[in-house]
Symmetry: none
Subunit: 234 residues, 2 copies
DNA sequence: GCTTAAACCAAGATGAAATTGGTTTAGCAT
DNA sequence: ATGCTAAACCAATTTCATCTTGGTTTAAGC
């Protein structure tokens, strides 16, 4: 381009762009023309335009995404976490790792925050799971025990995260048939491990609660890897 | 079809279908062939097949959806984690506690799984955050650093949980304006703390990474409680 | 050296066509 | 009439090819 086109080089392209953004009436979604087009409109090279857009993006005045375009304003936050999509991208191994990352910390927090009512419910779940006549019943009480621990943190966000994790776990684990006609053996590893978790929480043993939960989940992981016909719950 | 093909009409089509479901090895998603095809396979009319499928659906053994297909097992729960509702029930304190529960474990896992590319991106975020000219810019790089750590776990589920946590954090923190004209001081506590986190991850020091992240978040928590006019990020 | 234009890439949008469960209709045999 | 079958039709959904778009690389040009 000729020098005469830009008689005032001290007026930076960034400023020029800001002026354009203010003047141009953009569509409802505040999307501005594609870079190639915009470069032609303003009369600069695409590379130069992009450098200016980089600045505006750093400033937070615009946001860009490949395939979508460039938009004025802050990046919109998606208000929903899609469990299904998450489950599709994940797998049983990842679920196990995620449980190992989260649940010990939930147990730790529960040991701090649990009320007597929380602990009573945990003990109820323990007892019912021992009385279970089928694996399905056992799984129900097992799931409820783990959720009670999450509830005992008395933190709505942590509980929500646990529920999300749990929903993904169920979605991921769904396919595998578990035709276990027999009921859990009285010496099933989970009974003692669950007991230790609840006891640690009752004793306000924060480190012990986390450790007990981690140990428990590691056992579940080992069984899960060894034999696919075992329930994946724990 | 000839009567000879079905010499035992008392064996209902439903039973026959159940046998088929047990025997056939279905794809990962447990989807069975389209009705038209399945009808041909079994050798019955589509109408008759559908009547049997109706029973199985009633029993809860399968579920169907137009355009999708027919699947064995329970209908997947289409629960979306509602970030907005979660944010409404939560508060900054809970968010902080949730970060303290999750992010050290993410750092620990990242120390295991991070690739050189992950670490390079972390270092980039570090450098940019130091160069930030405004708090807004700093926050952007800080957020990106923390998310890179979550990415470095190479666990889609953990990343999803982190994103959910982060979305709630942003939603909860929404109201508070932070008009901090000055840029972060060169000795801002987070610089050194972030550096320690990344270094531990690079050194494959799993315990150190978790500890560094916990220490960092505790500092953020302290600052947050002491002075509301500080950025809540860290 | 620096800029520019062009090519290339992968993520996302778009739209036509095919697929699929659900429903209706017409034919046909009993 | 009754009951079954095949075919057509419908709307929801997937699939696939194509286009768009920001991001990146490359090489020519000055």
């Amino acid at each position: 381009m000729l020098a005469a086109d830009r008689p005032t080089p001290e007026v930076s392209l960034v400023t020029q762009l800001r002026a354009y953004l203010a003047q141009a009436n953009l569509p409802e979604d505040r999307r501005l023309p594609p870079e190639r087009e915009l470069a032609g409109l303003i009369g600069v090279s695409r590379a130069e335009l992009r450098k200016a857009l980089d600045v505006l993006e750093q400033e937070g005045e615009i946001w860009r995404h490949v395939g979508k375009g460039t938009f004025v304003g802050g990046r919109p936050l998606d208000t929903f976490a899609d469990i299904g999509a998450l489950a599709r991208r994940s797998n049983p191994t990842e679920v196990m790792r995620a449980r190992l990352a989260m649940e010990p910390e939930l147990a730790r927090s529960a040991a701090f925050m649990a009320t007597p009512a929380d602990i009573a419910e945990m003990r109820l779940c323990l007892a019912r799971s021992r009385q279970a006549e089928t694996w399905r019943q056992y799984e129900g009480w097992d799931t409820r025990l783990h959720r009670t621990v999450a509830e005992a943190t008395h933190n709505a966000l942590l509980l929500g995260l646990f529920d999300t994790l749990n929903a993904v776990r169920r979605a991921v684990t769904w396919g595998r048939l578990r035709v276990q006609p027999v009921k859990p053996a009285p010496d099933h590893h989970s009974f003692a491990e669950h007991e230790r978790i609840v006891q640690a929480i009752e004793d306000r043993d924060v480190a012990g609660a986390a450790t007990a939960m981690r140990t428990h989940l590691q056992t579940v992981e080992r069984k899960l890897l060894a034999r696919q016909d075992q329930p994946s719950e724990g």
